[in-house]
Subunit: 352 residues, 2 copies
């Protein structure tokens, strides 16, 4: 491993990376320029003369040079990285948001660090702590409620933060979402308008799921308005997974607990679908015997029979919009709106 300058110290040289020992200096030597010129050629090709650029590009190819972003990050104080924190990756509706985020950020050269919290606030804090050591240029988080420390860390990070999938008048920085509360009220009003009057709210309520809590509150508030004096019916489970089997279970639970129920408001299409399919098995007619509503407008909602009344959320759009806001902030462009309500849409179908 011959090198130009033999170190005069007796100290052993520091181990370099396993194989890819090609550095910018190697490229610079091959192209006959300084490292700074190579750096410029890579970051802003227009700032280097055409001929030099060509020589450098050729040198990059010949040496198989791959830029080391850690060094770049350290020197320039920009990581070209965004941290995304979501409750669960395998919840397809969040995955769509991340896909939207990623679709916008990748072409701009930003990479996405992804972490999931499993709806546990302490894990979210730990994740934020750990991710902030990576010095991302921006944060994207699903949820608007965080531990005190988590909020502090995010504020101290000095980079844009987008909270999402909810709304709050006092975001850490920016928020892109919709009112889960209002959405649920819309569902209850719809059912009340249709003549249903014994409504039951059913869903999975993980301790850290503030969106589910907001939805429950929306249900309770609307229920109080439309059915004053009537005790609202709520059936929730805390530890079950968000799968169709849970929806079927919840259906059974609701029918056992509140047999007079004529409409069930589920917190998710997944649960609602499981319930509809179980109704079909049991011979319960939907919506004649029992109306069912979902949330999220998953792919299945329109294909089920009866098709599912639900609330459509532009989940991919949340990700894309958030990414655009982050980009604007990261590129020091002005961002006028700190709170962006993307709204929701009640899709009335055959199940109600």
């Amino acid at each position: 491993m011959p090198r130009e300058s033999v170190p005069t110290k007796t100290r052993a040289p520091r181990r370099r990376s396993a194989t890819s020992a090609v550095t910018m200096a190697d490229v610079a030597a091959a192209a006959g320029v300084s490292t700074q010129t190579v750096s410029r050629a890579l970051r802003d090709p227009a700032s280097v003369s055409g001929e030099t650029l060509q020589r450098i590009e050729e040198a990059v190819r010949n040496t198989h040079y791959v830029q080391n972003f850690a060094a770049s990050h350290l020197a320039s104080n920009r990581s070209m990285t965004v941290a995304a924190i979501i409750p669960a990756i395998s919840t397809s509706i969040f995955a769509e948001t991340i896909q939207g985020l990623s679709d916008v950020l990748l072409p701009e050269g930003y990479q996405v660090f992804l972490g999931h919290t499993d709806y546990v606030a302490a894990r979210e804090e730990a994740l934020i702590r750990s991710l902030s050591g990576r010095r991302p240029d921006g944060f994207f988080i699903i949820g608007t409620q965080h531990t005190r420390d988590a909020t502090h860390i995010l504020k101290r990070a000095g980079v844009p933060v987008v909270e999402s999938w909810g709304l709050t008048s006092r975001p850490i920085d920016l928020v892109v979402g919709f009112s889960n509360h209002a959405a649920m009220k819309t569902v209850v009003n719809h059912l009340a308008d249709r003549g249903y009057h014994r409504l039951t709210f059913a869903g999975v309520m993980k301790p850290g799921d503030d969106r589910a809590k907001e939805r429950r509150k929306g249900f309770l508030d609307a229920h109080g308005e439309r059915f004053p004096g009537v005790e609202p019916q709520v059936v929730t489970v805390a530890s079950n997974s968000m799968i169709m089997a849970t929806g079927a279970e919840l259906l059974d639970l609701v029918r056992a607990t509140y047999p007079e129920t004529d409409a069930i408001v589920f917190t998710s299409d997944v649960l609602a679908s499981g319930a509809v399919l179980r109704c079909n098995d049991l011979g319960v007619r939907v919506p004649a015997d029992l109306a069912i509503t979902g949330f999220g407008n998953y792919d299945i909602a329109g294909h089920l029979r009866p098709s599912l009344t639900t609330v459509a959320i532009a989940s991919r759009r949340i990700g894309m919009l958030s990414a655009e806001l982050l980009l604007a902030r990261m590129q020091n462009k002005p961002v006028t709106e700190r709170v962006i309500d993307i709204g929701f849409e009640l899709l009335v179908r055959d199940s109600s």
Copy 2:
């Protein structure tokens, strides 16, 4: 902004990070030790005396110190990062794999960089190129076929690479998956055993989806064995999304193109579900008039009526196993098997 040592040079000081200007030196000063001792306390608390450790921990809290991983990475040549490359994030079955991967890696201090290729080989290569600049300590990739350059970059990176969701006798490094080919043969054999004899293969075939190609080949090979002389029937679309509506479309297309079909083999449960639900609408009896099989054992498969015969893949397990292999390699533990076949399971249900 007073500092101890005023620079004697006239040169303007380099801009530090926006807010978090707290460095290890600040912590060291607060604790009355050297930076190296702080570094040791953070990386290996046992290597520092109890009393010193306490002082350092207190200093960390007081200063709100957040370690800069980029500097750590540069100095130690370990990024504590794994790059994950998947065709699409919002395909729930891949999301489960990533969740499994992440579940195992996060507790070990590794963060996951996520990128998606949209089934485009060129985009995969670009992603690998870009991600390798981040110097991840390992790569996880869904798929076993890559461009020549992508393969080279991965090999030159000098870190463990796990390919997945397929099998190959010559992996870049390691592979965790199953034989899509064998899985499809199993499906065809099952249908043939049940007496179906006019089989049609139907699915979405994106150009870069080698798993779909393998499945088609498995279908064709098994078909040739079980129905020698019979022309195999294949109906595919290239650009449609993997949604239920596409399954319904494909059903119509199959019935128009090959009306004599008595069994359709779909490449995904999503498509098969869309087709089953459309059959219910059309009055086509499943499986009496037409058998239908899926792939993946999605949540819906067991809840549909008729329930869906499908191939179960332990997708979360693929992620977890891959993570364990990567960890073993990254921690220089021995890895004996380079090719791990996690197999698959044919779930015979009511649709066939």
